[in-house]
């Protein structure tokens, strides 16, 4: 049966087709998500009110969405930087943990003068995130080790390291909970005076525009596009393929690490046990929905941030598990992956009598 379908790869994909399959994919994804929510006992008008009105059209909801979206935009940019070059960074959470640990280390040990403390924390986080991905990059390029498994396993190792610190050396002596000591005022990102939103959003937006400039306006961006499209051709035209991959992937780890510092210094004000949870998949979904376009990632980050915010509300009012967020993300990604089929291939049903 499956063999009577004839598929032809499209040589050119018209913009209208690109747009319509994308819209179709998103629409189906959201519809299926609605059905799942209905089935879990959330009434239809509540779905609209929680997922659209409350999170995007009320001041409180908007500020919460922006707060949640801040680290999401950063991990989305990080995921895109690596995925674009066909390097699968499935260890975003691990790099985020390392960024969070590095910023906390700077903060609780009072490294450097207070007026440059925050920049130091950010820098330490970027370097730590880049370090944690440098190991899989090295083994991938030198020995061809599968980076999917390696980045992923290193996430679990990073998480256990955080646990080790939080239940040991870094535990806040004034509490029995596994959290680090509170940061000082000089180590906190300022609030915007609008809900919980904090200046981290400027960092995320700046990173988004910087990435856009890098990808769209520089020679490096041109090279990385070429490597992402066809590595063999890029290599045979003499492009510095290895350097492009190393720089992009380290950038991916660095951005993920930065997201960790933004969370510790802007949202939690200390290192906690679960702050990195779910960021790997969210980052990948955001990057994929935005088709790796840095400005699109800002928009996608805000949308996913809204879904997170709504998920929190559903958890409180409908006692739904927070896993509903990852489920919606999964449905969206699957729907987009399948709709891409109609973009990539021309589908015909073979005439059974003829050829």
């Amino acid at each position: 049966m499956l063999n009577s379908v004839v598929l032809t790869r499209r040589q050119k994909i018209p913009l209208a087709l690109r747009a319509s399959t994308f819209v179709l994919g998103l629409t189906v994804g959201f519809l299926v998500s609605c059905v799942v929510l209905l089935m879990s006992g959330v009434p239809l008008n509540a779905i609209f009110s929680e997922f659209v009105y409350q999170v995007f059209f009320t001041s409180l909801g908007q500020s919460q969405t922006i707060t949640t979206a801040t680290p999401l935009i950063l991990v989305g940019l990080g995921a895109a930087a690596a995925m674009k070059l066909r390097f699968w960074n499935i260890g975003i959470e691990g790099q985020l943990w390392f960024g969070a640990m590095a910023s906390t280390w700077v903060a609780i040990n009072d490294i450097g003068p207070e007026n440059i403390r925050l920049p130091l924390m950010m820098l330490a986080a970027v370097l730590a995130g880049a370090f944690w991905i440098a190991i899989p990059v090295f083994f991938k390029l030198k020995y061809g080790v599968n980076e999917i498994i390696m980045t992923l396993l290193m996430t679990y190792i990073a998480f256990q390291l955080v646990q080790h610190l939080l239940f040991g050396a870094w535990q806040d002596p004034s509490t029995s909970f596994p959290v680090s000591a509170h940061f000082d005022e000089a180590e906190k990102l300022a609030r915007l005076g609008w809900g919980n939103a904090y200046t981290g959003i400027w960092i995320a937006l700046a990173a988004g525009f910087a990435m856009w400039f890098l990808v769209d306006r520089t020679r490096f961006g041109y090279y990385s596009n070429a490597v992402g499209l066809n590595i063999v051709t890029a290599r045979s035209t003499g492009l510095p393929v290895t350097a492009v991959i190393v720089i992009s992937v380290l950038l991916s780890g660095g951005l993920s690490g930065l997201a960790g510092a933004v969370i510790t210094s802007g949202a939690e004000y200390r290192l906690t046990q679960f702050l990195a949870h779910g960021f790997t998949f969210s980052g990948i979904v955001i990057a994929f929905v935005a088709r790796f376009n840095p400005l699109g990632i800002i928009v996608a980050g805000l949308i996913i941030g809204g879904i997170y915010t709504a998920g929190e509300t559903l958890k409180v009012f409908y006692s739904l598990s927070e896993a509903v967020v990852v489920l919606i993300e999964g449905i969206l990604l699957l729907s987009l992956l399948i709709s891409d089929f109609f973009k990539t291939f021309e589908v015909r049903i073979r005439n059974l009598k003829g050829n």
Binding site: L2, N3, V6, L7, T8, R9, V36, S40, W88, I90, F139, Y143, G144, V145, N146, I148, I149, M150, L152, L153, M154, Y156, I157, Q160, L161, Q163, H164, F167, G168, F281, I284, F288, S319, L320, S321, E322, A323, V324, V325, V326, L327, I328, E329, G330, I331, L333, L334, L337, I338, D340, F341, T344, F345
Partner: protein, 308 residues
Amino acid sequence: MEGFLINWITTFPNFAAPLLLACMGLIICERAGVLNLGAEGLMVVGAMFSVMIIYSGGGILLGVVGGMFAATMLSLVFGIAVVVFRADQVLSGLVVVALGTGITGIVGRAYTHKPIQGIEKFDAGALGDIPFIGRLVFEQDPLVYVTLFIVIAGWYLLMRTNWGLRLRAVGEDPATADISGVDVQGMRLVAVMISGALCGLAGVYLAVVSSQVWVEHMVAGRGWIAVALVIFARWNPIRAIFGALIFGGAESLTPRLLAIGADVPVYLMNMLPYAITLLVLLWPYIRGRAASSAPSSLGHEFLRQDRH
């Protein structure tokens, strides 16, 4: 010390069995050319649904079968996406993990932390009293022996039957298999569903034998360890047995040490299974044997029109 060693080694099969089951499923799937990264999600689904059925009074057998069935259905979604719609296999695998986590998070909320009557170990009587090997060989739970049987049967099916030859041909060179009359897409769908069933059984094992309770995050990365184990085993079921015993041994060390009251850094010890997996994973690559053992068409979609 001797007592500790025997107690420790006796627990190896219990920790190795779920890894081995998932790994066996993944080997069949990858041998057909489909990279299935969804093991973690399939295991979660198997674990949760089996507990749900048993807790609701369905009985153990129905629980085991139901858990496997649920995971197989999820793998079918993955199979349709990657085989029929040619979706990216890596991303689709991650989708399976997300769907599995999401579904079990929502449905399983009502069954969290509710202990069930699971499967117990055999009491072999006199056989169990044989020094050193008695408890190791004769006093495991029934699923350990089923696992061993599945792996050996799987090896035979894959390496010694016509069906296995066709399946491997699909993974090595789908175009040639297609010309010889093998239904490439049908074969791949079947392989994906087998991996779903076996990963589901691995999850069932964790829930019904090991913990006898459902808790979110209880699979804790074992699905990913199984994915790594496939590479370590170089896509050979028999080698996977040794790999699973190594990883299972590393995993069971921490609870054993805690049981005798040893003062060890718990969280650093918890790193051990992942760290050992990582180190062991590097080995075939550094020796240059991983790439040459991988099925040639692993991760690539098949399109008859692409034949050349």
